[in-house]
Assembly symmetry: none
Homo-oligomer: 418 residues x 2
C-alpha cells in the first residue's frame, strides 16, 4: 500500500513556515503499514495542483492533500478538486450543523464565508473536524482514494486519528506492523550503538528493524516488525526488548509515548507525594512541562522562577552569603534553592536549576551551557554539574529533561528513605 | 526565474525527520527574487530521483537537490546525477586537497570513503564546502542549472550563502521580491476577512498578493509584491500596510518575525521597567516564553507558579477570604495574584492567570476553557475573563499570548501613568 502527500500553500514555497504536517503524517502512515512514496509541496494554483494530483494518482494508491481548506478566498483546494473530479459543489446540511456547532463552541458568529464551508464536492464523503470549521473530505475515484485535510496541524491530526486511519483500515487489508520505541537518556548515540552492537546484529533475519532516533539529550530506539501474525510478532519484539534491558537498562526511562513529566507524576501519585521547582536558567520550562499533564495539580504545588538574584534571596530564602561566596551558578546555590522551594511550598521533593543558557552570560569559569541541577527528596539532597553544547532553547530543554530524570531516579532508587 | 527543490532521503518519507532545509532555502531564494515552484521529497532511489529531475527541469530554471552526498553507501545522489547527465566520474585534485584539509580540521583520518568524495561527475563545477567533506556541485545543462548540496543543514547553508547565491546573481538578472507579514491577535480569520474585504479587493492589479496564515489566537496576513523597482514596490506595500492599520490597527501587534514576548521586552527595556508573572493555569508557560528571549533577565525578575491554593495564599499573599468568597477562578483572585507577585518580586508590572485548562476541572459556572487574566502596570490593575475552546495545550498557549498582549497594550496605551 503506497501513499503520497501533497501539501498546498504558498507559505511553504516562500519558506515562511516549515512543513511539519508531512513528517507527522508519514510517521503515522508508516506505523500503520503504509509506505509514503513522495511528498510534494505546491502553490495555491489549481493548474499546478491538478498536475500534481494526476502524477501522484499514477504512482500511488492513496493521495493525501493538506492545506487550502480555510474559509478565505485564497483557499482553493475545494474548487480545484471539483475541477479535477469533474463534479460540482453541493450544500451539505450535516456539515452546516457541524460548522454552526463549532462556531458556537468558539463563540463566533456565522459569516457568509463559514456558510461556504458547508459546500462540498458532490462526490466526497465529508469527515467530521472536531477542532475546526473546515470538514475533511474523502474521495473514492477509479480505485484510488483521495483525502483532503485542513493545513492547521491540530485539525489535521484530529482528522487523521479519528476519521482517516479507521476508514483506511476498514477499506484495505494492511499488514500487521508493530512498533515499540525504547526511550533512553544520558548516553550519546554513538556510545549506545557501540554498547548494543552485537544485539543489533542479532536482529538480522528476524523481520524486526531498528532505527536510532536521536534528539538533544535523548536517543529513542525504534523496533519495527512487519508480518501476518500479531501475537508472534509481539512476542519476538518483547524478547528483543528484554535483551536490550540487560545491556542498557540504566539508560532506559520509558517506552513509546512515555514522557518524563508523566512518569514522575505517576510515581508521585502512587506514593502520595508532592513536588515543587525552583528555576533559574530553565525559566519556568520545567513547571510548564509538568503542568502540561492533565491532573498535575494532584502532585505539583508550584514553582518559583527566580530570574533575579533578589528573587532567590527574598522569595526562595537563599542566604546571600552563599551566593556571594560561591556564585549563582554553583552547587551550594542550587542546593539552597531546592531546599528553599521545598520549604516554602511545603512539598516532599523539589528540583532546582541554575546555569548559563546562552548566548550571552558565559565566563571563563562558567561558559555558556554550564548548568547545576539539584534534587531534594526525603533525606537526600543531591546536585550535579553539566556542560551542555547547544543553543539557548536546546540548553533549556536538555536541562529540564535531565532534571526530571534525576528526580525520577531518586524517587525510584531511594523510595524508602523519603 | 523559477526554481525547484528536491530533497533526497528515506528518513523524510518515514517521518523520522522534518525537512527544515527546504523552508530555509525557499526563504533565501525568495529574498533574492527567485520563485520556488515546487518542493519534492523522494526516496534514496535512483529511478525515482531521475524521474523527479526530468519533471522539475521541464518546469523550472534552477533545480536544487539536497541530501545523499555523504560518504556512506546509502548516499546515491552523485551516481544518479552521472546517470542523469550521461557522464562518468572524474577525480578532482583540488577537491581532494579540500577534503584532506577538512579532515585535519576535524581531527579525523582519511578513509577510502573520504577519497571517493573527491570523485565528481565530469560535467560539474565543484563548490567548496567549508563545513564538511562533501563538495557542493553546480551543473549547467541545456539552459538549466542544477545545484546539488549535502543534506546537513549547516553545510547546506554555508554553501548556499558563500557559493550558490553569488553564482546565481552573476548568471541571471533577478526581479525584486518583497514580503511583509502583518501580525494580528484577538480577531478570527473570517471576521478579519469581512472587515478588510474592500481593502483586499483593492489589491487586484497592484502586483501585491495577500495570504491569510491563521494559528490559534492569531492571524498573520502576508503581502507579497514582485517587480523591477525596489523602492516603488516597497512604497506600494507600505501604503497598503498603512491602509490596513486604519481598518484593523487595534488587532495588529507586530510585523514579520516579531513575537509578543520580544515586543514586551523591548518596551520594558526602553522604559527601564521590570515585570513578573503569577501563573496558575499557564503553569510557568508565560515565564518560559519570556525567558526564551536572550537578555530577558534585564526586565524579567521571575514568576510564582501557584498551582496549589496554599501557594497562592502563602507565597503570593492572596487573602484566603477572597478565594473563599469568589473562588480561585475569579477577577478578585487573579487581581490579588497580580498585585501579590508585583509586591513580592518588587517589579513595575505583572501578569496573573487563573483558569481551567482542561480536560478535567470544569464546572457549570467555570467550564473548561474559562480563564481570568489580570495585568498590573503603574496605577492600573485590569482583569478580563475569556472562554477558550481548545484542548489543554492550546488553551495554555492562547492564554499566554493573550496575557502578553494585554500587558503590551497597557504599556503602550497608559505609558505616562506608570
Amino acid at each position: 500500500m503506497q501513499a503520497e502527500i501533497i501539501t498546498i500553500g504558498n507559505e511553504i514555497l516562500i519558506g515562511q513556515i516549515v512543513d511539519t504536517n508531512s513528517a507527522w503524517m508519514a510517521a503515522l502512515l508508516n506505523e500503520n503499514g503504509i509506505t509514503v512514496h513522495q511528498i510534494t509541496s505546491v502553490s495555491d494554483n489549481s493548474v499546478h495542483i491538478i498536475e500534481t494530483l494526476k502524477d501522484a494518482s499514477g504512482r500511488s494508491d492513496i493521495i493525501f492533500l493538506t492545506g487550502g481548506l480555510g474559509p478565505t478566498r485564497d483557499d482553493i483546494t475545494k474548487k480545484t478538486l471539483c475541477e479535477y473530479f469533474g463534479v460540482g459543489l453541493r450544500f451539505d446540511a450535516e456539515v452546516m450543523t457541524e460548522v454552526e456547532k463549532r462556531l458556537n463552541q468558539f463563540n463566533r458568529h456565522l459569516t457568509e464565508l463559514n456558510r461556504n464551508q458547508a459546500e462540498i464536492p458532490e462526490n466526497c464523503i465529508p469527515l467530521q473536524n472536531k477542532n475546526g470549521t473546515a470538514p475533511g473530505m474523502w474521495f473514492d475515484c477509479e480505485g484510488k482514494v483521495y483525502v483532503s485535510l485542513p493545513g492547521v496541524p491540530y485539525e489535521m491530526k484530529g482528522l487523521m486519528n479519528d476519521e482517516v486511519i479507521p476508514r483506511i483500515k476498514q477499506k484495505f487489508r494492511l499488514p500487521v506492523i508493530i512498533n515499540k520505541t525504547i526511550l533512553t537518556i544520558g548516553i550519546a548515540e554513538s556510545a549506545l550503538a557501540e554498547k548494543i552492537s552485537d544485539w543489533e546484529d542479532s536482529l538480522a533475519n528476524t523481520g524486526i528493524a531498528l532505527a536510532y532516533l536521536p534528539s538533544p539529550g535523548m536517543v529513542r530506539l525504534r523496533l519495527s516488525g512487519c508480518g501476518e501474525n500479531r501475537s508472534s510478532l509481539e512476542e519476538n519484539i518483547e524478547n528483543k526488548v528484554r535483551e536490550l534491558q540487560m545491556l542498557a537498562g540504566k539508560y532506559i526511562y520509558g517506552y513509546n509515548n512515555d514522557t518524563l513529566e508523566r512518569l514522575v507524576g505517576e510515581i508521585l501519585i502512587k506514593s502520595g507525594k508532592t513536588m515543587s521547582t525552583a528555576e533559574s536558567c530553565t525559566g519556568g520550562y520545567i513547571a510548564h512541562q509538568l503542568t502540561s499533564e492533565p491532573g498535575s495539580s494532584n502532585y505539583f504545588k508550584g514553582s518559583i522562577v527566580s530570574y533575579a538574584i533578589e528573587t532567590k534571596i527574598n522569595i526562595l530564602g537563599v542566604n546571600p552569603d552563599i551566593i556571594e561566596k560561591h556564585g549563582v551558578v554553583s552547587a551550594e546555590t542550587v542546593e539552597a534553592m531546592a531546599q528553599g522551594v521545598r520549604r516554602k511550598m511545603n512539598t516532599d521533593c523539589s528540583i532546582a536549576t541554575s546555569g548559563i543558557a546562552g548566548p550571552g552570560g558565559g565566563t571563563d569559569e562558567n561558559p555558556v551551557g554550564t548548568v547545576w541541577i539539584a534534587v531534594a527528596a526525603g533525606q537526600r539532597l543531591i546536585s550535579r554539574k553539566f556542560q551542555f553544547p547547544y543553543n539557548r532553547k536546546r540548553n533549556i530543554h536538555v536541562t529540564a529533561i535531565t532534571a526530571l530524570n534525576m528526580l525520577r531516579k531518586e524517587l525510584i532508587e531511594h523510595t524508602d528513605e523519603g
